[in-house]
């Protein structure tokens, strides 16, 4: 797992806080300074800067940034400066509150994060919204999609590597039956995908491919008018099977659309910069023969662009 973020080993939170304060002073805001500091600090360092800023100026750095910045740049910086678990809680809440719940975000968070990280998000959600994540997901969805999403966000999967081959075979068969009969509200599909450990699921997916000569995701391939549940299941399987490939596609689609999907682009870059964005960049280059930096530079502009490129690892 290779992160793209370039951050120094040591930094002085006090100096950073002072430099940020200087960037806010006066009539304009020195966005370049903000990008050059915050865009080169990891989560721990950003926390320290927030604390130092609070101590020095009795003000919440986040609130200050919200008032000084605007547009896609502000959204990106806001998400970036939050603690990872808090950030995912915010992203989940935004996704839930949309008129049609953006189930992709919920699936990403619940299927890609480790079981402990998902728990941290659930705790952060309690703290911030005074409700549980599952209660809000349930209240804003219905039917089969609700069943799947609630099951995914409440899972606390076994994190070990042990797998049971016989079980992998029998559950690959169950998944196959469901795909053949197009019975995706099949309780069993949801049970398997939302409760089994990731290792066990990958074993089942491999078994599926061995038996049927085609990957399970290809067999689930959707026409655009296929049901929401099917698309959600498809996303869940892809997230569990190969998160980096999933993110490469998300980012590729975000840039490809007529008009970039800034929400998706920001989400992937901000949430993966400290995890595996470098790997995602490599996959992107392999698939599209152009670097992700180049594509982002072409489709975005201004401070937003500069910030994304910094997170992508551009040297100043």
């Amino acid at each position: 797992m290779a992160a793209s973020l370039v951050a120094p080993d040591t930094h002085s939170p006090m100096e950073d806080a002072e430099a940020l304060r200087k960037a806010f002073k006066g009539w304009g805001t020195d966005e370049k300074a903000i990008i050059s500091i915050l865009g080169h600090r990891n989560a721990v360092q950003r926390q320290q800067i927030r604390q130092a800023y609070e101590e020095l100026y009795q003000e919440d750095l986040i609130k200050r940034l919200e008032s000084e910045l605007s547009g896609d740049f502000e959204k990106a910086v806001y998400r970036w400066i939050l603690d990872p678990a808090d950030r995912d809680a915010v992203l989940a809440n935004v996704a839930i509150k949309k008129a049609e719940t953006d189930y992709h975000v919920i699936i990403e968070i619940s299927c890609i994060l480790s079981p402990e990280d998902l728990l941290a998000v659930r705790r952060a959600y309690h703290c911030r919204y005074k409700r549980s994540l599952e209660e809000d997901v349930a209240a804003h969805t219905s039917g089969d999609l609700r069943k799947l999403l609630v099951a995914l966000v409440t899972a606390y999967r076994y994190a070990g590597h042990e797998i049971n081959e016989r079980l992998a075979k029998s559950e690959a068969d169950i998944l196959n039956d469901a795909i053949k009969d197009k019975a995706f509200n099949h309780e069993e599909v949801i049970r398997i995908l939302s409760t089994r450990s990731k290792a066990q699921l990958i074993a089942s997916f491999n078994r599926y491919r061995d038996e049927h000569g085609i990957s399970i995701t290809k067999n689930l391939l959707v026409d655009s008018d296929e049901g929401t549940l099917q698309k959600a299941l498809h996303a869940a399987i892809r997230c569990i099977n190969d998160p980096r490939k999933y993110f490469e596609k998300t980012v590729r689609n975000a840039i490809k659309e007529n008009g970039t999907d800034e929400d998706a682009l920001t989400r992937v870059i901000v949430t993966r910069a400290e995890r595996d964005l470098k790997d995602i960049k490599e996959l992107y280059y392999q698939r599209n023969s152009v670097s992700l930096d180049h594509a982002v530079a072409k489709e975005t502009s201004g401070d937003y662009k500069a910030f994304l490129l910094t997170l992508l690892g551009k040297e100043d």
Binding site: R122, Y158, E187
Partner: protein
């Protein structure tokens, strides 16, 4: 010849919950062969007359005795355990042993523990059994109850006191209607019923309990007699001490099966550090007799002393 009151005492020593070890030592230990013979002849439920002219221990009863001797040991082991391991093992046992009470035990664990305690139990379950609790529950249970039970054991409820009272009122109405339409669709199959019961915080559900009574005039658990699992869920969340008192009362009956008897150990060991005081009060209110007295009358020996000590802690 053995004295009649000694015969009675010995029969008592072998009956009820646990074994009266002292009686066995002081009476049985000093009996000579003729006295033991008269005991065997006088206890047809312990000994059967074999065709070859001797009184034979009834196998079934010896097995039961084994359980009774172990009752103290099991209570001690369970009491000493870390609460997380305890709940994980109780859940696993419930899943393996099956039978009607098992689902009730899963509901009890999922609904009467705090969010962090339930999470701890899930962690311990990973360590002990190399699977997640929800994975095993989903695998072993089918049908309508699976949805309820998987959701209950997976919940990580908000633990703060903030409640959206309008939402609570609205959801109470939803439940009233779902229960009214029970003959059209069972409440346990109603996805809104499941959503509310398995995701809302406990304070929120207690507000719903109150509003339900205001709307329909009855308590929601009274209206759920036809849906035992939902009834248990509501009781465990909203009126846990009443629930535990009822479980204890059933377990303390004279001739119950061994699964029901186990509830006595389970409830006392798992609640002695939490709400035992309130459970004792509720028990007294419901049944007009103190819990200690009932245990005194029904349990034996070290097991009895151990339970009484546990429930006397903290007043």
């Amino acid at each position: 010849m053995a004295l009649p009151n000694e015969l009675e005492a010995l029969t008592e020593a072998f009956s009820g919950h646990g074994i009266h070890e002292q009686a066995l030592v002081s009476i049985l230990g000093k009996w000579h062969p003729e006295e033991r013979k008269s005991f065997r002849k006088g206890s047809p439920h312990f000994f059967v007359e074999d065709e070859r002219n001797f009184e034979r221990w009834d196998d079934h009863h010896v097995r039961l005795l084994k359980h009774e001797f172990m009752r103290f040991k099991n209570a001690v082991v369970l009491w000493t355990m870390h609460p997380w391991e305890r709940d994980a093992r109780l859940a696993k046992e419930a899943l393996i042993k099956k039978g009607p009470q098992s689902h009730g035990i899963l509901i009890e664990i999922a609904c009467t523990r705090s969010a962090e305690e339930l999470l701890g139990a899930r962690r311990a379950y990973h360590s002990l059994f190399d699977h997640s609790l929800e994975e095993d529950v989903a695998h072993h249970i089918h049908g309508s109850e699976r949805k309820l039970l998987v959701a209950l054991v997976s919940a990580y409820r908000y633990e703060g006191s903030k409640v959206n009272d309008d939402a609570a009122k609205f959801e109470a109405k939803t439940l009233v209607n779902a229960i009214k339409d029970a003959n059209k669709r069972k409440p346990i199959d109603d996805e809104e019923v499941i959503r509310v019961l398995t995701t809302r915080s406990k304070p929120h559900l207690q507000a719903i309990y109150k509003h339900y009574k205001e709307i329909s005039g009855k308590n929601i658990d009274e209206d759920l007699d036809a849906d035992l699992r939902l009834k248990e869920t509501v009781q465990c969340i909203c009126t846990p001490q009443k629930y535990f008192s009822q479980v204890l009362n059933t377990a303390l009956k004279r001739d119950v099966d061994k699964k029901t008897k186990k509830a006595l150990t389970r409830v006392i060991v798992t609640r002695a550090d939490t709400d035992m005081k309130e459970i004792k009060e509720e028990y007294n209110k419901l049944y007009g007799v103190s819990l200690s007295k009932k245990i005194e009358d029904t349990a034996n020996g070290n097991y009895k002393d151990f339970l009484l000590t546990l429930i006397a802690r903290g007043g």
